[in-house]
Point group: C2
Chain length 343, copies 2
DNA sequence: CTGAAAGCGCTAACAG
DNA sequence: CTGTTAGCGCTTTCAG
């Protein structure tokens, strides 16, 4: 019961390796009788093709790497799911590379010490700068995710963060909010996702004829709900007054909801909250979060489509794709619930 | 800038392939001068070893598969994170296999059509029965996760569900709850995780001198918070009265909290709720969930340790490991908040 | 301590 | 439509 090879099957069936291979691959032109005989031998021997050998011979691994900061961040776990599903649809297996936002780990994603592991990489960098990505990128096809400005050498998929943030602000303004804060600058987040969201937030205020107030931009010391909660609690304690809040992501929004509740501030009556990413975490928050919803499925499909083209030989310049988003309205910032009136 | 091979490096350096290989692998007995020369050639050529070829030659892939129902279920995404971290610590890469609780997909995990993809598999089945696992399991080392009764042919890691559920009940009883319900029978969940939790729940009631009431065992039609919420709403509407609730997992508990809130039932005053898995979802629920907390890190470490031993040649009988758990107390079922008294 | 050569198991070009 | 054979790139005895 050991190591059955293609050649063994060929021997038993009394045919050549090529014929066995043809059967394994379901090639059309094999006589039914031949096919039967070979299949018999395969079954008898319990033969299964060795993937590694096949890869060596074909030069294709049938695998892609998905490199993300944290597997268990709700946004990334949900995105991973769609990517896994789409990949499997295209016949790829996915190997997950968790960078934990570690610069070295991010570098290792592109600067791999060995080759031939995967056919392509989908990479969401957090610390790595555009230039560095360009410099390190080698022969492996790469599609970048996330909101930073990306090098023209790589493909890139994102949503329009500026517009999305503007829409979030517009929604709050439309509901009568006049002092709208932004939650989540994080030091070390060098890729500019937050910057773009902040920019859109400011733009949204200007669009509404308001003047951005620096005091209303809240910083968080780390990418956790705990820190977000702390930041909001601190702002409230410091007397920063706001009736609307746009958050960098649902996790931060979750922490914010907690802090507001602790402080006896009612949502949405006193403060309307908008999250980002539309994750399950926000969907079941109390109150459920209104959230900017990137089309994760489309994101996954687009990323894989681009990657596939690269794998199939496309060598052109980097392409940028903007994927659609929506504002999912829920209780934390509902329609028709003007400030200071309970529903 | 194409395909630099080991042989090319050897040529340039004017040494044999073996020597280059020795340098690449940091073998001790190479003269410093030789090493320098070879390293030079490696750098000049930008050589990187081809993993696939190495695998073919060594027979080891350095990869393990993690097969779970859903990547984005909070419990599994958190578990995945620890497994990824531990795997990377041991030098393994992880490929994620999402079964979506599909029987065929689960079968495919063990019954793989091709060999040589991974060195081992960590598998959390949901639909597959013990017998079937035993029947399908082949030569690849497998460690099973989850609570079903598992075949003696495979290793298995779990927490003691019965005891954990008893503890959950005991906690509620200690806080003065007298009508404690259990939420989450799901049809099609054939592995018995829920069964064991239910058993522990019943045992816990008996321990406290109470009589299990079938009406207090709530069924859910699918593994989603939505359905859980619906089930609880239905129970409330039907006049089922309870002052404590043990949930099959945090997701169900989240749905339950929602339904209770909608119905104007206060948690924990009117109903104290205990979740299961201690996920971020529950940590930020409102109120934050008391939850049975499997030690996910230990779970991951144990599973990988067992798998590693198998990969390294252990061929003995299946080993069962019980990993520790705790009851994390939070607001949904706090200490010192007897029923019908607000805090 | 280094070099030569025989695999690892499969694919694919090329004949037949 | 089927058979032969030369790789794919690395590891690893086994001599030297």
């Amino acid at each position: 019961m050991k190591k059955v090879r293609l050649a063994d099957v060929a021997d038993l069936a009394g045919v050549s390796m090529k014929t066995v291979s043809n059967v394994v691959h379901n090639y059309p032109h094999v006589t039914p009788e031949m096919r039967r005989k070979v299949q018999q031998a395969i079954d008898d021997l319990g033969y299964r093709p060795n993937l590694t050998a096949r890869r060596l011979a074909t030069g294709k691994t049938g695998m892609i790497a998905l490199a993300i900061p944290e597997i268990d961040h709700p946004y990334f776990s949900e995105l991973s799911r769609y990517i896994a599903e789409e990949a499997s649809r295209l016949g790829y297996r996915v190997i997950v590379e968790q960078t934990l936002s570690n610069p070295e780990a991010e570098r290792a994603v592109l600067n791999d010490r060995e080759a031939g592991l995967v056919d392509g990489v989908i990479f969401h960098p957090v610390r790595m700068q555009s230039m560095e990505v360009a410099r390190l990128q080698r022969d492996v096809p790469v599609v970048l995710l996330g909101e930073s400005t990306m090098p023209v050498t790589a493909d890139h998929v994102m949503i329009d963060n500026v517009v999305a943030a503007q829409e979030g602000v517009r929604h709050l303004v439309g509901e009568g909010r006049r002092r709208i804060a932004f939650l989540g600058m994080v030091s070390g987040d060098t890729t500019g996702s937050t910057d773009q969201r902040l920019l859109g937030y400011q733009q949204g205020l200007v669009d509404a004829g308001m003047t951005p107030d620096p005091d209303l931009v809240l910083s968080v010391s780390d990418f956790t709900p705990e820190e977000s909660s702390r930041a909001v609690a601190h702002a409230l304690a410091s007397g920063v007054a706001f009736d609307g809040l746009v958050c960098r992501d649902d996790r931060f929004a979750t922490g914010a909801l907690f802090a507001l509740r602790q402080a006896g501030v009612q949502v949405p009556r006193d403060v309307a909250v908008v999250g980002w990413d539309d994750t399950e975490l926000g969907r079941w928050a109390s109150p459920p979060l209104t959230s900017i919803a990137p089309d994760k499925r489309e994101l996954a499909a687009t990323a894989l489509a681009l990657l596939r083209e690269r794998i199939d030989g496309y060598h052109g310049i980097g392409r940028h794709r903007i994927v659609s988003h929506a504002l999912t309205i829920r209780e934390s910032a509902p329609l028709g619930a003007p400030a200071f009136q309970s529903r």
